[in-house]
């Protein structure tokens, strides 16, 4: 106890020395707080991104393997087509079998079949055209009479020169030809329309990505209904609108007809697809419905072969390769392969990862320099206090206790400085890190609103309104952070949740939709991203404390070695 008392007295009586040490520790603490906060924020952003952009695996045609198979044995084109037809499609049972894996969080799939439709004009360029061209060949004979002056310049039809001349023109031949032109649309297949069935919003990637946007109505949330959405082009061509019905016809059996109610009309928003000469977008003839509806068609006609495209949500990075191996083991045909979007995700978070790496490097450098400076200052301090050590040792204080007193002094100064440094650092880092987070939160909210709009749920005006509210909320959160330093973690969570709820309720009141109608759309949980506002949290404070204690111990180690090597007699003799 007396060691602590003596340490406090020593600190109080040697203000200059301790203020100098304190300033150094404050600088280290500020740097550490900022870098730790940035690192933590970067981590959270990466985690949030990874949460909303989950690792997905799918099964695709293995073209390399397929081509080598088709080329094998010098096949004719007909044989190649036959061989291709013999490769069996992946069945729903197989997908379910692959999906029931420890490495898979969830999975979904889409069904696609080609169908015809009654009284529905296909949006296509493949028309048989008969073109009549009338070609008129005209020959002109020019006769000029001069009444004096220069001859005309500029050839036939040139300006008439002044001075009395006269020109006469005569048409001699006229021919008419008829040309038949046939344009093929290879995509038309056996049925003119592609009927695509989804089993959840999560599976509707085109709407999530914004490739398709609802311009009228909405995508039905009932995945067991006879509802559909059609393209704007198809709707315009056939004068269809939301609430109208269309009749689907089995291409192999005209007597099998099915009625679909249009709940929404979408437009394709891609800029890269199609060429300049295409009149319609590639999705013009897509009719989007649900899997269950397609299954009812398939039940009536077993000859219709759907293309099933699966998507498996993989648990974590480590599971990607394991899942791929497992699928191969379960018997996936060699003409198919398992692909994933891991590289895409890693590329997307690369810049944030770089920020994290930079922050970590900066932290290490700061700690190294800070540690060395502290050790040096401590050594100088020890040399200055050699006499004090000599006296304490002479009056019987053990080396360990002298070391403990010096360590206590440094620890007290260190903790006080860390508290000041952490406060300053948190104030500064709130601005830096929240800037990063604010963008992220705003992006997430924008994304949510955009997707909501893509599905026909919500409008641009509302989303922009919500965005401005988000900004305000983010600012509120920043202010709250400073307050929450004193409050408990639970309180902080409650406050954040309240903010989220406020945001939700404001958004809901605008759209006049009940709370349950908020859909996840298979993306992120915007609420979770929103809660990454606590920049300097308890974890960072603990890390700072750890750093402070470590620095104290390291620099005290030098002190202890010095104290153990000091001979009190020598010190006192030097003094005398």
């Amino acid at each position: 106890m007396y060691i602590l008392k003596n340490a406090v007295t020593s600190i109080r009586r040697s203000k200059g020395r301790n203020i100098l040490i304190g300033i150094i520790i404050i600088v280290i603490a500020v740097s550490c707080t900022i870098t730790l906060a940035i690192r933590e924020s970067a981590n959270k952003i990466i985690n949030a991104y990874e949460e909303k952009n989950e690792i997905e695996s799918t099964i695709e045609m293995n073209r390399e393997s397929l081509m080598s198979y088709l080329r094998d044995g010098d096949k004719t084109q007909e044989q190649m087509v036959e061989a291709f037809n013999n490769i069996e499609n992946i069945t729903e049972e197989e997908i379910i079998n692959y999906g029931n894996s420890d490495y898979v969080k969830s999975f979904y799939y889409t069904y696609t079949i080609n169908v015809d439709a009654k009284d529905l004009t296909e949006a296509t360029d493949s028309l048989v055209k008969e073109t009549t061209t009338t070609k008129t060949e005209t020959s002109t004979k020019t006769r000029t009479r001069n009444f004096g002056g220069n001859p005309p310049k500029g050839g036939p039809g040139g300006p008439i020169s002044s001075g009395g001349s006269r020109t006469t023109t005569t048409t001699q031949k006229k021919t008419t030809t008829t040309k038949i032109e046939k344009i093929f649309n290879e995509k038309a297949g056996s049925g003119a329309f592609s009927l695509i069935g989804y089993n959840s919003y999560e599976a509707m990637k085109e709407f999530i990505n914004g490739d398709y946007i609802i311009t009228s109505g909405e995508v039905s949330s009932d995945f067991n209904s006879n509802n559909c959405v059609i393209s704007e082009e198809l709707a315009t061509l056939n004068k269809l609108s939301v609430g109208d019905t269309i009749t689907i016809v089995d291409p192999n059996n005209n007597s099998n007809t099915y009625t679909l109610t249009i709940t929404g009309i979408y437009k394709e928003n891609t800029t890269s697809s199609g060429s300049m000469s295409d009149m319609f977008s590639t999705s013009a003839n897509n009719i989007i419905t649900n899997v269950n509806f397609i299954k009812t068609i398939l039940e009536k006609n077993e000859n219709l072969k759907p293309t099933i495209t699966p998507t498996f949500i993989i648990k974590d990075e480590e599971s990607v390769e394991l899942f791929s191996n497992e699928v191969l083991k379960k018997g996936l045909s060699e003409y198919y392969k398992v692909t994933n979007n891991l590289e895409e995700i890693q590329n997307a978070t690369k810049s944030i990862s770089n920020v994290k790496t930079f922050a970590t490097t900066f932290l290490i450098i700061t700690l190294s320099i800070g540690g060395v400076v502290l050790i040096v200052i401590n050594m100088i301090n020890i040399r200055e206090r050699k006499y004090e050590i000599g006296v304490l040792r002479t009056i019987g204080m053990k080396k360990s206790k002298v070391s403990l007193q010096f360590m206590s002094e440094l620890l007290i100064v260190c903790i006080i400085s860390l508290m000041i440094g952490a406060s300053i650092g948190s104030l500064l880092s709130v601005n830096v890190s929240n800037k990063l987070l604010e963008n992220e939160i705003q992006n997430s909210m924008e994304e949510y609103e955009d997707i909501s709009h893509n599905f026909g749920r919500g409008h641009i005006e509302e989303s922009s309104l919500d965005q401005s509210e988000t900004k305000e909320s983010t600012e509120n959160n920043t202010v709250e952070q400073n307050e929450t330093k004193e409050s408990t973690e639970n309180n902080k969570e409650i406050e954040n949740n309240e903010n989220v709820e406020d945001k939700q309720s404001s958004s809901e009141s605008n759209t006049e939709e009940p709370k349950e109608e908020k859909y996840n759309f298979g993306i992120a949980n915007v609420n979770e991203v929103n809660s990454i506002d606590a920049v300097v949290d308890f974890k960072i404070l603990l890390e700072l404390l750890g750093i402070g204690v470590s620095l104290t111990l390291i620099s005290s180690l030098a002190t202890m070695i010095a104290i153990s090597r000091f001979s009190p007699l020598t010190i006192l003799k030097e003094r005398s």
Binding site: Y2, K5, N6, T9, S10, R13, S14, E388, G390, V391, L392, T394, I395, G396, M397, K398, K401, S567, P568, L569, L572, K573, R575, S576
Partner: protein, 231 residues
Amino acid sequence: MKKIKNEENNTNSKNILSIKNVNYRYKDAARDEYVLKDINYDFEKGKVYAIRGRSGSGKTTLLSLISGLENKYEGSILYKNKELKKMDLDLYRNTNIEIVFQSYNLLPHLTAEENIILSMDISKVKVRDKNEKAVKLMESVGLPKNLRSRRVLKLSGGEQQRVAIARSLSYNPEIILADEPTGNLDKETENEILDIFIRLAHEENKCVIIVTHSSNVCNKSDIVYELKKSK
């Protein structure tokens, strides 16, 4: 508090400290270049001893051997018949012996009172009111009460030496070693300090060993040992 017990006396039972055939040379000195050679002294409680000698005769070295600050010597130094080398020297220094230096060796950032209390803390002295005891000790060496909260650097040489003596009495040691305690003081103050040492020896039964050049100190001491430069 651990106290060193009296063991069976091999020589004179009154001896608290015995130096037997002690030789000492510095680390960097030649093999036969001894500072102290064949030293044999006995010290009893209740007496004032003066050790005198010319400069370089090894007076301060002898004092550091007795105090346990240096223990690489030949021969033996016995404290109550127990070999000093085998003892916990930190405990020995903060319980049984106290050193008063010519340069006082007080902690400059502490007050007079705090210096005394720190010594009591290190020695783990159990006193109900350490402040009160410190003031009493200060008064016993002739220091007024009002100096208790003054930093030692603001005290005069005589006052600092009194604080050093008061500190040495704080844990009631049996031996008080003093290295030129009056070297920095005027004649009058020297006499006052000497009187305190004599009182401590004669009235409080302490063994006081003073290393000195001063003939005044030698005259007032009970026994004088003369150290001669070893050949």
